[in-house]
Amino acid sequence: MYETHYHRASSVQDAVSRMEAAGEGKYVSGGMTLIPTMKQRLASPSDLIDLRHIAEMQGITVNGRSVRIGAATTHYDVASSAALKAVCPAICHLASHIGDPHVRHMGTIGGSIANNDPAADYPAAMLGLAATIVTNRREVAADDFFAGLFETALEDSEIITAVRFDAPAKAAYQKFANPASRYAMTGVFVAKGDDGAVRVAVTGAGANGVFRQAEMEAALAANWSPDALATISVDASDLLSDIHADAAYRANLVKVMAKRAVAAA
């Protein structure tokens, strides 16, 4: 790791001030992606501004079907929230399969979304749930937030403070994990809103990161069942190929995971 300067922020405003004063600063929350990246000298922020202790970014609020999750909430806390499980078990299930128990004790939803790793789980949930990403400056629809590999709509020094969504009528996430890293080799989040609107979001497979599968959404809107996907052929041309899985295999996984998610929802 290159030399860096650590700052512990006491509030969102304090964090922003410190970031604006820094040369090439980075926010760190759980650090479960950023610190390993820095260890490998693939990132070299001059300053690290720690968001983990900011009280206003913590916690889960469920109001009827309306959900707000503070950005510094850990995967463990999302996975084990009884209130959340009551209205949206799919996101608890998803969080319970991120990384491993130790990573889940540190890693946060805000950190995962801000990083937008193409194999991360939360971006699929955000897109699938039509979530709103709340920052210290504005609110951004998930559809407008994820902008490609490790790219988001976040501007310099902008901080995700929370995410909001309305719990869907039905939802589920199915992941096929990479046998080595255990990240999603393909993960599919399906959701059906109270209004019948269907969303299918795919992570781990797209060459440009998380994406929505429009053809599946249309088919499921017409008929919410795994069989509705039977005739859909997933286009492999925009999918990732690597030593673990080529695009054709990932295309197969997108369909299989989508069917299983619908069955599980």
């Binding site: 030399e3 860096t4 720690d50 990384g99 491993d100």
Partner: protein, 162 residues
């Protein structure tokens, strides 16, 4: 160089280190507690697992500065007065270790796992919960057996105490 203070194994400790110093380096080098190990660079092997504020974490992926002010338990702090903790005893009784390198992380993981599940564990759950810990010696067979035995004994002891 910054001064970092935390409570480790019940004792308040301070040390000077670079901001880039990892918690595991601080524990091993500043505090001389070499039971916590480093087996990979990518937050996967779990040889470095400790408890921070009561929860298992990977000390190779946390800066010492991030951990300042926290309460840490390492493998050295688990057993009281030379007695083995029930999880340690179960690892010994069930031959849940061979070379010993992953063992501190495995034991700290098992203690956390049993706590979270309140001792209610089955084989599939234990195997899933070990996702963040790699052992190359045991094939996990006896680690799983040891954790199940410890969970049974600890929940039995809890029931008896209640």
């Amino acid at each position: 160089m910054a001064k970092v203070t935390m409570t480790v194994n019940g004792r308040q400790v301070s040390g000077h280190c670079d901001d880039r110093t990892l918690l595991v380096q601080f524990i091993r080098e500043n505090l001389g507690l070499t039971g916590t190990h480093v087996g990979c660079d990518t937050t996967q092997c779990g040889a470095c697992v400790i408890h921070m504020d009561g929860k298992s974490v990977k000390s190779c992926s946390i800066l010492a500065a991030q951990a300042a002010g926290s309460t840490i338990t390492t493998i050295e702090g688990l057993a009281a007065d030379g007695e083995l903790h029930p999880v340690q005893a179960a690892f010994k009784a069930n031959h849940g270790l061979q070379c010993g390198f992953c063992t501190p992380g495995m034991v700290m993981t098992a203690v956390d796992m049993i706590r979270r599940h309140q001792g209610q564990l089955d084989e599939a759950t234990v195997r899933a919960e070990l996702e963040g810990n790699i052992c190359r010696c045991t094939g996990y067979h006896n680690i799983v057996k040891a954790i199940l035995a410890a969970a049974a004994e600890m929940s039995g002891a809890r029931v008896a105490a209640e």
